[in-house]
Symmetry: C2
Subunit: 391 residues, 2 copies
């Protein structure tokens, strides 16, 4: 793979595929001085070059044109969510290294199909835009979890309710908050970041049970509130809460392990607790006399752990630049991707499983039947009557 | 009922029934100057008076002796948990006003039987010791919730993990953390308070799905970790988390309503958020132009709500005195009880439903079959082989 990378030279010529709001944001980042290893070389859009006067690059209708005219080394995909997997697949078939905006896909059958295509193109670099993974606090917490500093994970909770959206936000475009146009609500649009971060840190979920509010406090078809209980393959238990109707919502992650704890708030600050010994050892070594006094709160448990604060400013522009820089470094020097593309499949399956549990009232395993989910989704698209069913 | 109260005169002569650690604590409180409307008049114990030299009152073996010798106006029950309902029933039959320590019972069939007996003795005052209800912060939050200040409840979560118990705590007595001796773990012994407070504030649960760790991080048979998802009869969704293995655990309640929010931490401090209008009205009134900017976090949402802090010192002795004082005021002047006895049944049923969900892997309605739960409990008592099965 490193050998394969040698064909790229700095700066990487990047084309933006899909030039809506997010596409413009990405193009602006690529053009900026914050990503010196990358230049904007083209836009892929059905609209003409004149539609994007702020970017002085060619505009072509398809990715095949990029290849035919040698206009780009790589592409970043920011078309509508439903189209992400098809565009990624096209890029892979064309041999174009591809970075895709979150979410990787909307429904699990898309992920399964994409997995097969990725296996057929193992040498084409493929990454996911998972901005927060690039933030220093998140990456340091991940480093420590991966290094075993927290020990085995026992329990986790993520409250992602800092996504208040008023009524007219949903009325901005006809695809918003519809089954046919967007394929879901808070889990696909707002809290997709948190689903990714959660599974990145805690590993693969085994099953989920959820209460899901569809149009709970907004006049929309899709979910605006989620309360989910997850058991991970490791045996750890977790709670995931998301909503778009909480005016002063929370962004709060807790991770409790055998050796310590992390509470990460507002995505920019983590309180890290480290036990002086593994918790069960501290439990075993405490004498009967002291143990009998614990419940009166006269035993200074604070001696049994240390605390530490990690903090760094939250800059969305900075995180996006870091993701782009990492993708360039991957192409140029084989540096590991912050988010290998297929890792995005876990949060898609989890979001689907949460909805399926809400619809059925039962616990749903993460390896639920893709066809069952798609049938449920299409039934809702049909009932909505605004968009075609999905294949 | 007020007429029936007229037969009591201050100070109320109180007998403590069951004189273990909690019985001694209660007797000390009654004797103290903090409860002037009550005197300690007797102890009920199978042990002789010499066993309790610190209390200068008669000791009798049964509550019937209290009546025969006119030794008490009322009793407070602090026998082992399993025996609570039988002792309450005896007191009611004897016409003795009765205050019972939490929990009201261990399994739901006990509650159902007790409900029948209470109906037969409607004129005998019956209260539950629910200390925290007496705390100024909790009672003020309850007052506001009941007055509708928060609007309809949408979502709630209670994390009650500030109950670290080391190994030898459980080895202090053979009944601890056993099915036959205690009937459960953190839900019956430690977090019973929080289950009561939660249902007091949020109303009756309709159903629960839970992951329950039995002997998860301690060598005990019963639950040392609980992660439960509850839907309330009102439609609100809730999360309840409890554990005895978290060294620096949390005591944190969140309540989100249509008109505001409360975050109550460490049982002594509440941050109260009040929306200037109902949340859906704020959502409806926001213009498209402003709505489009909300997600860039450039709209000052802080103008849409006010915040306030409630705080008061946490004194366990003070709360217990307040509960006793309230019970005396109920007998003397008909003041409403902080916790009418049967209200304790809700948290018992919820604790049972949580375990039943953990055992079956299914969502359990709060009106589950009492016999099913008892059969499951007895199967575990039998397997344990240390204590008799329960009727």
């Amino acid at each position: 793979m490193l050998g394969g990378m040698a064909r790229y030279t700095a700066p990487i010529r990047m084309a933006v595929v899909g030039v809506g709001a997010q596409g413009r944001t990405l193009a602006s980042r690529i053009v900026s001085d914050d990503v010196p290893a990358m230049t904007l070389s083209a836009l892929v859009s059905s609209r003409p070059r004149e539609a994007f006067p702020e970017f002085d690059v060619p505009t072509v209708p398809t990715m095949a044109d990029l290849v035919a005219r040698d206009l780009a080394d790589a592409v970043v995909i920011c078309v509508p969510h439903y189209e992400h997997p098809a565009f990624v697949a096209d890029a892979l078939r064309l041999g174009l290294p591809v970075l895709v905006d979150k979410p990787l896909a909307v429904y699990s059958a898309q992920v399964a199909r994409l997995e097969r295509i990725v296996r057929q193109h193992p040498d084409v670099p493929f990454g996911l835009i998972a901005n927060f993974r690039a933030h220093p606090v998140w990456s340091e917490v991940h480093r420590r979890v991966a290094a075993g500093d927290l020990g085995d994970l026992r329990r986790t909770s993520f409250t992602a309710t800092r996504y208040w959206r008023p009524r007219r936000y949903f009325e901005q475009a006809p695809w918003r908050a519809t089954w046919g146009g967007e394929g879901g609500g808070v889990l696909v649009n707002q809290a997709a970041h948190q689903l990714d971060l959660w599974t990145w840190l805690c590993g693969k979920p085994a099953a989920v049970f959820a209460y899901v509010g569809f149009g709970f406090r907004r006049d929309i078809a899709v979910e605006d509130e989620v309360t989910a209980l997850v058991r991970f393959e490791s045996g750890a238990r977790g709670v995931f809460v998301a909503a778009t109707h909480e005016l002063d919502g929370l962004d709060r992650l807790e991770l409790l392990g055998d050796r310590g704890k992390v509470v990460l708030t507002n995505s920019d600050r983590a309180e890290v607790v480290t036990y002086v010994k593994p918790e069960q050892q501290l439990s075993d070594e405490m004498s009967m006399e002291v143990a009998a006094r614990v419940f009166t709160q006269t035993v200074p448990l604070g001696d049994l752990y240390t605390t530490e604060t990690l903090a760094a400013p939250l800059s969305h522009a900075g995180m996006l630049a870091a993701v782009l820089d990492n993708f360039a470094a991957h192409l140029l020097r084989g540096e590991p991707l912050l988010a290998p593309g297929l890792e995005g499949g876990t949060s898609v399956r989890l979001a689907n499983a949460i909805r399926l549990s809400g619809w059925t009232g039962r616990e749903v395993p993460l390896d639920f039947d893709d066809d069952v989910y798609l049938a449920e989704l299409n039934a809702r698209i049909r009932a909505e009557g605004q968009f075609p069913e999905r294949p």
